[in-house]
């Protein structure tokens, strides 16, 4: 894992260089726990990217490298009745919700022990037991689903859950977003839409930067049209994300009304693991963004505050590297799905058409 971490000297220089002073609302233990989760995601993503390049994982593979702080901070607030839904960049979400990394990796390998029995692959992870409702491949397509799930959470008796609905900056130009957000605003007026929209603004939808996709580049302001209150947060700063997550999930839970949080981030990895041509952005830009790698930033905080030592950091990294390696081993050794699985799960009744 290559993350940028500044030397202690550079760090103190940066601290006096007008960096926003952090409000340490996150306890040292919490920060360490959040850090561990981000490291879990990072090593998992690196491992599956390697497997993809070795031809062991097929289809499309979209990793979350650089964006870890967002889902990590937000999903640390999850409550029993909550639901989570996102698009295809979904490995982190399901892992953070508690799915077994072995089953997730096996899914990417298309094995019968996979999270969805090898039927969905990277883009269609699903784990209802852990509150993860997918895993969707069509940009924008899942957004109305999240709004509907939020409605159900206040329609059904004795449910205090909320829905965390994740979307990318590219998805916000899609009709499905506008139709879904409008409904959320409308139903939210009656307290019937506890939906927290999380806009993962990583600056690009595939090769298209924000200003090449819209004339109103203040993306989160699009929620204003639907009377959904909103704010933006530094998505590279785990403390900032976590603080916003605690406050906003509480608000949505209490009011039953939607809220939109934009997490400013950067897609350090290529769009998909198969994409090498990056004519649309410069190497310098990516290099610059790496300096704000959320994991590197968190390590700096942990060290500066003497929460952990360098040695402990190394140990934590090794622990999760091993965990990812174990997941790979499990996936490699798992059997393919039995051929009978081809025809199951089409309908509730097993009789197949044709």
């Amino acid at each position: 894992m290559a993350t940028t971490r500044n030397s202690k000297k550079q760090r103190s220089a940066a601290a006096t260089n007008g960096d926003k002073p952090h409000v340490p609302q996150v306890s040292p233990e919490q920060l360490l726990e959040l850090y561990r989760k981000m490291v879990l995601v990072r090593y998992f993503e690196e491992a599956c990217q390697t497997a993809f390049r070795q031809g062991k994982v097929g289809g499309y593979l979209h990793v979350y490298i650089g964006q870890e702080a967002i889902a990590t901070g937000l999903l640390a607030t999850i409550q029993p009745d909550d639901r989570v839904i996102t698009a295809y960049r979904d490995h982190a979400h399901v892992l953070l919700l508690g799915s077994d990394p072995k089953a997730v990796m096996a899914e990417l390998y298309g094995k019968g022990t996979g999270l969805v029995k090898g039927k969905g692959g990277s883009m269609h992870l699903f784990d209802v037991e852990h509150k993860f409702w997918g895993g969707y491949g069509i940009v924008g397509g899942h957004i109305p689903l999240g709004v509907g799930m939020a409605y159900a959470q206040r329609y059904l008796p004795d449910n205090t859950g909320i829905t965390q609905l994740y979307l990318g900056d590219g998805a916000i130009h899609n009709g499905a977003f506008h139709e879904g957000a409008n409904l959320a605003g409308l139903w939210g007026r009656e307290g019937l839409n506890p939906c927290l929209f999380v806009l993962e603004n990583n600056q690009y939808g595939m090769g298209t930067s924000i200003e090449r996709a819209t004339a109103n580049t203040d993306l989160i302001s699009k929620f204003d049209s639907y009377a959904i209150p909103r704010e933006s947060v530094d998505g590279m700063d785990i403390e900032a994300v976590y603080e916003a997550a605690v406050r906003l999930t509480e608000r949505v839970r209490e009011t039953g009304s939607p809220f939109a949080l934009e997490a400013m981030t950067y897609r350090i990895a290529p769009h998909g693991a198969a994409d090498f041509l990056e004519k649309y952005r410069s190497k310098d830009e990516v290099r610059e963004a790496r300096k704000r790698d959320p994991i590197g930033l968190t390590e700096t905080k942990l060290l500066d505050r003497d929460i952990v030592s360098e040695d402990e950091i190394t140990k934590i990294r090794q622990e999760y590297q091993q965990l990812a390696a174990d997941a790979v081993k499990f996936a490699e050794e798992s059997p393919e799905p039995p051929l009978e699985e081809l025809l199951t799960d089409v309908y509730a009744e097993p009789e197949a058409v044709g």
Binding site: G59, E107, K119, H124, Y136, V139, G170, T208, R212
Partner: protein, 328 residues
């Protein structure tokens, strides 16, 4: 004759028409700066500029609708669907507007629009990214639907489509972009509604389109050397308009037919072919027409399941043997 790829053949056709006719523009996601996710439009932005080569946001319904408006107003837009899987978001525009405007305007308005892009499966893209939509779009009167299998056809059909006064959907096979073939330098078009005999034979007619044509040709060689069966292979090329004559003439000669497709069998192209044969060649058929199609399930991800879901050589050989009453 220059040998170029299927990808180059499509690109050169668009570029040639753009040179000849400045009403022609291209639009779609990541087709300009990025060069297209399958690089079919690579270089066009530099050559023709951003007014004619437009990168769009991820808004298939919006930009396809806008292209229909441009076409009605006298332009000749070409829309790239990054893949046809995303065309469902534009299906309302394609089906409700593009297909019907000539009719419900009493012939006053027309929609000279081309929509093109890859479809088909085979690379583990799973349920939402694996469709063969020839039958689906072929269902709607007002649309023309073609599926070129060779660089020659891809080039000639692209030019034909741009010049066509009605909406034409070109369902390219993603798997074919890198395949090579002869494409003449001289200007030519491939008319719609005319199928092609890809291999002559006497014992049985094998019918397909798109990337299945290559599979059929390969299987026909195997049938010839291993089973002593001389198969005729027909590349449908055009789904709508449909060429009944070529398949009927072939079956009059061979008396047997197998139709192959990657899409689901129910309400499909193969079903349509079988219906045409029983209507027009009933007295010549020595066996029921067999359809070899995809399994009736959303596309699975796992490699072994995906292979099982799509027709392969063995499935074709089995069907041929059944139609020839050789084995059960």
């Amino acid at each position: 004759m220059p040998v170029i790829t299927y990808r180059e053949a499509i690109k050169s056709a668009m570029a040639e028409e753009m040179e000849r006719d400045d009403r022609v523009v291209v639009m779609g996601e990541d087709i300009g700066l990025y060069g297209g996710t399958h690089l079919v439009t690579d270089g066009l932005l530099d050559r023709f500029g951003p007014k004619r080569v437009m990168d769009t946001p991820i808004a298939e319904g919006g930009f396809t609708g806008a292209a229909i408006g441009m076409a009605m107003a006298g332009m000749r837009p070409i829309v790239e669907m990054m893949t046809w899987n995303f065309s469902f978001q534009a299906a309302d525009q394609i089906i409700q507007n593009a297909a019907k405007i000539r009719y419900f305007s009493g012939g006053q308005a027309s929609v000279p629009l081309v929509i093109r892009g890859p479809n088909g499966g085979g690379v583990q893209l799973s349920a939402q990214h694996t469709h063969s939509l020839e039958g689906f779009y072929g269902h709607f009167p007002g649309l023309k639907v073609v599926a070129p299998a060779t660089p020659y056809d891809a080039h000639g059909m692209m030019i034909e489509a741009i010049r066509d006064p009605d909406p034409v959907l070109i369902l390219e096979a993603g798997a074919l972009y890198g395949t090579k073939g002869d494409v003449p330098e001289e200007e030519y078009t491939v008319p719609f509604g005319k199928s092609r005999i890809a291999r002559e034979g006497t014992d049985i007619t094998l019918i397909g389109y798109g990337r299945q044509v290559n599979l059929l040709l390969k299987t026909a060689e195997k049938l010839a050397s291993n089973e002593g069966v001389d198969a005729e292979v027909i590349d449908l090329r055009s789904i709508r308009p449909f060429d009944t004559e070529t398949i009927v003439d072939s079956v009059k000669k061979t008396n047997r037919a197998v139709v192959i497709e990657e899409q689901w069998r129910w309400f499909s192209v193969a079903s349509e072919v079988a219906a045409h044969l029983q209507e027009h060649a009933f007295d010549y058929l020595d066996a029921p027409v067999e359809r070899v199609s995809g399994a009736e399930v959303p596309a699975p991800y796992a490699r072994n399941l995906e292979i099982a879901a799509f027709p392969g050589e063995d499935d074709i050989i089995d069907a041929v043997n059944r139609v020839l009453y050789r084995r059960s």
